[in-house]
Every structure is written in structure tokens, then in C-alpha cells.
């Protein structure tokens, strides 16, 4: 069934978009990530203009994050105070990201900039995650080799001013590091059309020292607001949110996510992490290859914004 997208001004196959939403939703439910890092490149791939893919991807992330966070709230696995601080940073980062996005668009380098961001961040995080989960998997194989992790590692982060208590996380730290983490992830969210959970989660664990129990829920909680803000920003300044495209992605995505979450209960945490890292690495390698390989068409056309 062909459907005309009012903002993208193109006719697409509705079932293809539903399918993309469904598959990505399944993976995001399985791994507990927003899935923006898959949706946006896939939209590029089927020919949706980058600006529309990024803005519409952000809208889709809102839906999948809400779907995910509700379960986490029930489990009391959301640190609302930490989420609020991260969100405040996220708004600032997202605003700066929007300005950079505009500037790069005018230079004609936005495609490469977005692709490079994907390669660097997905590649970096994917490699770290792969290495870490492989080690954990090997350790789990050995009898009696349970991993020992200290819950409190003191570093320079703990010496900063403006300290406050984050009860749900059991932390007493400065609000500056969470603000900075929020800003960095918000910046990437605006540019890459992603929620940024894949960066947020490791940053929370290793940089802020939050307990794993509240990490996913707090990350999802914060992503709702930052992605919502990003969506509004793109809608207001560029008119690039395609509501029909978003609706198709969301319907496919939320249904897929529920099946993914069910399937996820059958996998072990280590196995899941290693699969997710492979997926993230795969996307990074594919995009990286496209940057380096000689393109079939050297020329490209873009409209001049009036």
C-alpha cells in the first residue's frame, strides 16, 4: 500500500515503514534501547531526506521510550531527580546541536557530519561493549569467577562543588557531571536523531557510578524529554517532522518492542549485551564503509532553503 508523506513529499510503501518500525522495535524491546540509531540510518537508506529522518526519528524515540519507561517506573527503577538534572543538561545540549545542525546544513556537510558521528560513537561504544561483554561471558564460563565490582569508586568527579543527594541512585555527587553528560547526549540526539541511550547508559555506569538497577529506567525517562524537545525544535524551525511517517514507525515500533521485551526474558544478560554490541558495531561499520568506499554517484543535489 503506497502512502504519500505530506512533509517528505514522497510516496512510500506503508508496510515497508511498518516493517522497519516493527523490526527496530523488536530489537529495542529486546535490548532495552530506544532504537533511534537503527531507525534514522534505515530511513536514510530508503531515501528519506536526512533532515526529515533525524526529526521524525526523534519523534519515534519518544514513543518507544515511554513504552519502555512505564515498566521501569512500576519496578521503581527510575531516579527522577537524576533524570531531571540530565534533562536540564539535555535541553542545553540539544539546542546547541540544533545550531550546529543548521550550520553544517548550510555548509553542505551535514550528511558526512551525521555519518561521522555515527561511526565514531557507535563504533566506540560498540567496541567497548563488545570487549566488556566478551570478558564477562568468559568469566561466567569459569567456575567461581563471579565478577567483583566495587559500588563506590572515588575519582575527581567526587571533588566537584554543588553536591546533592540522589536518593534512588544512592549517590552524593555534584550536579555538574550529570549536567555535562546530559548536554553531551542531548547534543548528539539533535544531530543524530537518536535518544542516545547507548551513550547515556555506559556514561551513567562508568562515569557517574550509578547502580545498574536504575540506569535503564532513568536513561529512558530522560530520553523522553530530550527527544520530545528535539522533535519540537525541528518542527518549529525546519518543519521537518513528518507525522505520517512517524505514526507508521511508532505503530510498528511499539508493537515490535513488546514482542522484543518478551523474547528478551529468554536471553541471558551477557548474551544480550554481546548481541547488542555486535549490532551497534555492524551499523557503525556499514556507515563507515559508505564514507570510505567510492560512491556510485559523486554528485548530489540539494534544494536551497528559502
Amino acid at each position: 500500500m503506497q502512502l504519500y508523506l505530506p512533509i517528505a513529499e514522497a510516496s512510500v510503501n506503508a508496510f515497508l515503514i511498518l516493517g522497519i518500525g516493527g523490526v527496530v522495535g523488536f530489537l529495542s524491546g529486546l535490548f532495552g534501547v530506544g532504537g533511534g540509531f537503527l531507525i534514522t540510518p534505515l530511513l536514510f537508506f530508503i531515501g528519506v531526506p536526512p533532515a526529515i529522518a533525524v526529526a521524525t526519528g526523534a519523534n519515534q524515540v519518544v514513543a518507544s521510550s515511554i513504552s519502555g519507561v512505564l515498566a521501569q517506573v512500576k519496578r521503581k527503577a527510575v531516579d527522577f531527580k537524576m533524570g531531571g538534572v540530565l534533562t536540564a543538561g539535555g535541553f542545553a545540549g540539544s539546542s546547541i546541536g540544533g545550531v550546529v545542525f543548521d550550520y553544517m546544513s548550510r555548509l553542505g556537510q551535514i550528511d558526512v557530519f551525521v555519518q561521522l558521528s555515527y561511526v565514531v560513537f557507535l563504533g566506540g561504544i560498540g567496541a567497548l561493549m563488545f570487549q566488556e561483554s566478551l570478558r564477562a561471558l568468559l568469566r561466567a564460563r569459569r567456575p567461581g569467577g563471579a565478577p567483583i565490582r566495587r559500588s563506590h569508586v572515588h575519582s575527581w568527579v567526587h571533588g566537584l562543588p554543588l553536591k546533592t543527594k540522589f536518593r534512588a541512585s544512592g549517590l552524593y555527587i555534584s550536579i555538574l557531571p550529570p549536567l555535562a553528560v546530559g548536554a553531551a547526549v542531548g547534543f548528539l540526539a539533535a544531530i543524530m536523531g537518536v535518544g542516545g541511550g547507548f551513550i547515556m547508559v555506559p556514561a551513567m555506569i562508568y562515569f557517574l557510578g550509578m547502580p545498574t538497577r536504575v540506569v535503564v529506567g532513568t536513561s529512558l525517562f530522560q530520553i523522553i524529554f530530550v527527544s520530545g524537545y528535539t522533535t519540537l525544535m525541528h518542527a518549529m524551525t525546519h518543519h521537518t517532522v513528518d507525522i505520517v511517517l512517524a505514526l507508521l514507525l511508532i505503530v510498528g515500533g511499539v508493537v515490535g518492542a513488546q514482542f522484543g521485551a518478551q523474547a528478551g526474558t529468554k536471553l541471558k544478560a551477557e548474551q544480550m549485551r554481546i548481541l547488542l554490541s555486535l549490532l551497534v558495531l555492524g551499523v557503525a561499520i556499514k556507515i563507515g564503509y559508505d564514507l570510505v568506499a567510492t560512491p556510485a554517484e559523486l554528485f548530489n543535489i540539494s534544494g536551497v532553503r528559502s
Partner: protein, 258 residues
């Protein structure tokens, strides 16, 4: 005296214009002059039909041809060329085109080379290269002509630029018809249809018509809302996301709970 001159003028002037007017004229119509882009829009086919009206019998030679061009709204464009910089392909040189049609179709009743002389092509700006306005691009990049060629190549591959020789059916040198297929990724605006009647490559008559392409229904509503009320549009987008996200998790919990 004055009155005589006026009378003379009244008699002579129409005669002169009659002479100057083409011996053969186009009478034509479109199957539809409004195209509405709705949610299930998947391209549209428009029948262009007409006849050659003449006061004197068909002289037969030189050969008669009909050329029909359909042109979508023009817009300014930037064409960029990628170059390898430290192993990565980056957009480097760029050329700004003042105006290029978003869609251009040339249909002819016989091969273009036989139906249109180069001078008349230039005069009436019939073929695609004459419709692309690219003034002063030579200073913008080396081999700037390559950029225009690339534009034509890319849009031809997308089916947006077409040359369809022998697509116009001309019957008995009098009746003609052609089908123009508008693609599904149509840009809104006025599509100009030009019909040329040529003899031995020279244009003897031209007739212009317009097809109005508009978004309609929900598409129109959403597009206007996004442009004119971006805040409300953005909030609606978010509301859909919030409701869908909540409904999915609530719905599945209910299914599982049963």
C-alpha cells in the same frame, strides 16, 4: 482624411495579422487540469489530446510534428561534488543553479532531431538544457558543466526528467494524443504544458495549458499545519507518540494479564 486612414487601418490590419498568424493551429485539451495529492496518491496519468486546425488543405510537406513539454515548478538548487579527503568522501565543490524544473517531460511525435531545429529549440527553450537556468556558474567550480550534466543524469535516473520520442500519436497529420505520467514524488505547484506544432523543424504554433497540482484532504491539512502552526503540529506529533507508547504497553499488559 483621418477618417479614411482609420477605415483603411480597420480593413488592412486584420488582414495583416491574418497573414502573420499561423496557417495551422493547435486545438487541445487535457483529461484533467487538477491533480490532487491525497494520502494514497501514487502518481497520475494525464491524457493530452488535440487536433490541428487549418483553413487550407494539408500541404503534406515539410513533415508535421507535435512536441509536448510538461514542466514542474522550478527551484534554485545546489549541486555538490564529493571528493576524497583523508580517505573520506566529502562534499567539496558546489555549483548553484538559479532555477531547474522539478519535473520535465518532452514527448514528440517523431525523433526530436527531425521535429525541431536547433534555432527554434533555443528560441522556444524546448529541450531540457534550455530550461535549466545556470548563469555565471563557470566561476564557481572547475568543469562547472559537469555539474549540470550530473543534475540531468540524476533526475533522469529518478524519472523526473524524460525525453519520450514517438510518444505523441499523430493521426492523419490532424489528431494527436499523448499520455504524460506524473511521478508519485510530485512537488506541489503549477505544471505548465506546452504544445508545439512544427513543420520541417520550425515552430508554426504554440499552445500553453496548466495543470494545477495540489495537496488535498489530510495531506493539505497536515502540510499547512506544519508550516503555519509548527508549535501545535509539534505538540500533536508528541501527543501521538505519548499515547501510542502508553497504549502499547497498557494493551500488552492487559493481553498478558488475561
Amino acid at each position: 482624411m483621418n477618417r479614411v486612414a482609420l477605415a483603411l487601418a480597420l480593413i488592412v490590419l486584420p488582414a495583416i495579422s491574418q497573414l502573420a498568424r499561423a496557417q495551422e493551429q493547435i486545438v487541445a485539451g487535457l483529461s484533467q487540469n487538477h491533480v490532487q495529492i491525497t494520502a494514497n496518491f501514487d502518481g497520475s496519468s494525464i491524457l493530452i489530446y488535440g487536433a490541428v486546425k487549418r483553413d487550407t488543405p494539408d500541404p503534406g510537406t515539410p513533415p508535421l510534428a507535435v512536441i509536448i513539454t510538461t514542466e514542474g515548478p522550478s527551484a534554485a538548487l545546489t549541486i555538490r561534488k564529493k571528493d576524497r579527503v583523508v580517505g573520506i568522501w566529502l562534499n567539496r565543490d558546489s555549483v548553484n543553479i538559479d532555477a531547474a524544473p522539478s519535473f520535465y517531460d518532452v514527448s514528440t511525435s517523431m525523433p526530436l532531431a527531425e521535429s525541431l531545429s536547433e534555432t527554434d529549440d533555443l528560441r522556444f527553450r524546448v529541450t531540457l538544457p534550455h530550461r535549466i537556468r545556470a548563469i555565471g556558474i563557470t566561476g564557481e567550480a572547475a568543469n562547472s558543466e559537469d555539474f549540470v550534466t550530473a543534475l540531468m543524469r540524476i533526475r533522469t535516473a529518478q524519472g523526473r526528467f524524460r525525453t519520450e520520442e514517438n510518444e505523441v500519436q499523430l493521426v492523419q497529420n490532424t489528431l494527436f494524443r499523448a499520455d504524460v505520467t506524473l511521478p508519485s514524488d510530485l512537488v506541489e505547484g503549477n505544471y505548465k504544458v506546452r504544445m508545439f506544432l512544427t513543420r520541417g523543424g520550425h515552430v508554426v504554433d504554440q499552445k500553453d495549458m496548466t495543470i494545477f497540482v495540489r495537496k488535498a484532504g489530510l495531506e493539505r491539512f497536515l502540510f499547512n499545519l506544519a508550516q503555519e502552526q509548527p508549535l501545535i503540529y509539534g505538540l500533536i506529533s508528541l501527543a501521538i507518540a505519548v499515547i501510542a507508547g502508553w497504549a502499547a504497553s497498557a494493551g500488552f499488559r492487559w493481553l498478558r494479564g488475561r
